[in-house]
Symmetry: C2
Subunit: 438 residues, 2 copies
């Protein structure tokens, strides 16, 4: 891709309500822009990142045997009345009326619709299990939308729902999804923890959350330094005010708190801040019973489906990557989330030899399967282009400038900002090695 062909409106202005680095850099880097309170548009670079994340989520789910569907975003309120959730959901679920004065909602989640879809279509235990998911628009009318796309009202969620003939099989799928989620977050290059989220006993497996570790995270979690145990503090402290006061502490303040508990493995526990990006839940037959969704069991008797449900905040992940990976200059994308891996900066694109050398490297990298963009803009100067590179956060830049006459270019590592001279004909080789090791 060429910068001159892609709409990348970077800016030096911060959004007025900015608190978090991801909010600041995603807006300033031309990834997203605000349309209204808690409503965001994805501009071309943001859409590319969103699609990369979406593709990884889909690939891993499909490999695990899940089937993708796409449910209507507007759903009749009658569905929610029947499950009893119309009231429970409160004001976060936005009710609307159509032209005939009939009642609908903007889906905040889709348990009911998914049960209706499977009901009467999966008839026998022989047709089970079934695991259906979608990656689709959701709406939650938060009272105070904030933090950019990290906590918008309209967002992209992966929501999955599995149906089983018995609890054992449901737990098998729950465990499979835990493993699948780990693969997804690992491929995204995230430092994350799986934590127990069920209320009460440590070690329960009824509900697990996936947290991206980030100092700015809204949740406080307790993790073991020796094993992979982790828990949301909500499951540890029974006193709600204690939980609230811990959540209000900054990461730095938290680190000064002593943890009296020990992990059952004997390891030391410590507090971390996390952003919840995934949640998996053993539902049982709550919804299938409420909506009378039965199958015929081995004895020919009707039985309500055992269910589990699995969520990932797909658009939230875009911001989470940046909360975990940024510096004071801008974004630092991970290898599998970067809109492009390499940015070829032609210092002065009006100089024919610089532009030609840039295009030659660009074509070579492209031919070798490296996702590359070339900053071929004639009207922008070098400093501006370097600023865009740092703000947008491509993993590597190749700077073509003065040393071209000696057959040299400079390779810049976005994470360390280290520069390295490189011969023109070794650029691909050097970059490939860096990418392989990253």
């Amino acid at each position: 891709m060429k910068f001159s062909n892609l709409f990348i409106p970077t800016s030096k202005e911060n959004p007025s309500d900015v608190v978090l680095p991801s909010h600041q850099f995603l807006v300033r880097g031309g990834f997203v822009n605000q349309e209204g309170a808690g409503l965001y548009n994805f501009m071309p670079l943001g859409k590319i990142v969103l699609d990369k994340i979406r593709t990884i989520v889909k690939e891993e789910l499909d490999k695990a045997g899940c089937n993708e569907v796409q449910l209507s975003f507007v759903t009749p309120i009658s569905l929610w009345d029947r499950s009893g959730r119309a009231e429970d959901m409160g004001k976060e679920m936005l009710r609307i009326k159509d032209r005939h004065d009939n009642d609908f909602v903007l889906s905040p989640t889709n348990e009911e619709a998914m049960v209706e879809l499977v009901k009467n279509r999966v008839k026998s235990y022989k047709d089970l299990p079934v695991n259906l998911y979608q990656i689709n628009t959701k709406f939650r009318d938060e009272a105070r939308p904030r933090y950019g796309i990290l906590r918008g009202r309209e967002f992209l969620m992966k929501d999955g729902y599995s149906f089983h003939s018995n609890t054992e099989d449901m737990i098998r799928e729950f465990d499979l999804m835990e493993e699948t989620y780990k693969k997804i977050f690992t491929r995204l290059g995230l430092d994350f923890r799986v934590v127990n989220a069920d209320s009460g006993a440590i070690g329960g497996s009824g509900s697990k959350e996936f947290h991206v570790l980030a100092n700015s995270g809204e949740d406080t979690i307790l993790v073991c330094e020796s094993c992979d145990y982790g828990a949301n503090i909500e499951t540890i402290f029974e006193d709600e005010s204690e939980v609230d006061s811990l959540n209000e502490l900054s990461y730095e303040q938290l680190q000064e708190k002593e943890v009296t508990q020990k992990c059952s493995c004997g390891g030391k526990l410590s507090f971390k801040k996390g952003i919840e990006v995934g949640h998996i839940f053993q539902l049982g037959d709550k919804y299938s019973k409420a909506l009378e969704a039965n199958f015929q069991d081995e004895n020919g008797k009707p039985k309500a489906f055992e269910m589990a449900t699995f969520g990932i905040g797909v658009s939230r992940l875009v911001a989470s990557v940046i909360e975990q990976n940024h510096d004071e200059k801008g974004c630092i994308w991970t290898k599998n989330t970067a809109p492009y891996l390499v940015d070829i900066i032609v210092s002065n694109a009006k100089k024919e030899d610089e532009l030609d050398a840039g295009i030659k490297i660009y074509e070579e990298l492209k031919a070798n399967g490296i996702d590359v963009i070339i900053d071929d803009r004639k009207k922008e100067r070098f400093g501006f282009k370097m600023g865009d590179f740092e703000l947008i956060g491509f993993p590597y830049a190749v700077v073509i400038g003065k040393k071209l006459q000696d057959g040299l270019v400079e390779i810049v590592d976005r994470k360390t900002l280290e520069k390295q001279e490189c011969k023109l004909d070794e650029v691909f080789e050097v970059l490939q090695k860096k990418l392989d090791n990253s």
Copy 2:
């Protein structure tokens, strides 16, 4: 893919309000199901087809230099007030109120939001042209939603918007998009016509529609049998009642009507029925003026963007393919829209030799890059599987049955329903030849 791993709930029951073949077969074939009036869910097979169409649309647009974005579906009504469309759009645009009693709409189209996105971000004529598109949910609160996903209230639309410094460049892009749309509909395997849709004079190019020819089409178009001229009859007959009465005629009745006009090329004109699947429109500066969206021209003066807009009904295309390609037994997908190209029917999957032979062919086809599904269901009999093949409409089936002991299988062409014996080790070769020629 294996049938046993994919949720494909075929059914013999017709939807209660069914009129059109696509509605009947897409519901019965397990592609879609109804969630509410004009609200549909895409089940796994339907989602696969939708994604195939979406991918082709995206590939061709990207090749033509367009940039994909994704706008918020819920938009503030203030945007629509400022353009003056809040009133014009009438009841089809659904107004909603959030928890703070602020007014929003479910986007029926996105001219305003797209102008706002570009405004103040594209500053100079040097940054033009820009062509941004999205493939995203839309909502139009039709008074009488009908015909399944052909005329739903919630649907998937590709809407594109281009911005230019002058009219000539806008027309260049308009022509480029006409060519791009032709490539898209050709790749989808559709028999379609581009027709003039501007009111009044024949030959005007201010607005063009793309119609899939189908006897069930809602629109009546006049096409030339010698050249590629075509026009919506709305542009030909000034008398509205004449247009209405022609639109009410069935395809058969229309064929009996004599056409008195001749094409300017001298060719014979005839009436056809069409389904509108695309519309491109030269907008000029209507929206950029209303929303005060200017750029700096060559003389350093502010000037309103010249715009064009380009739509494709992506979910409607799923139904359109079937309106044009079906028989009394079910769907007949085209090569690039088929959820899978080949269905390997294991007549009796309880017989080990049949299942083994099926899996061997399945692996061979897959290894050779053919999109294949195997009907490995143990509990279904041959007749049921063949019925599903005909209803779902995969282009080819490979039937593994009694003649396996002689080393033979049967290849069935879904379109002609012709059967052909084939040696086990020649299946790939024979299918590849058929696919190459289709």
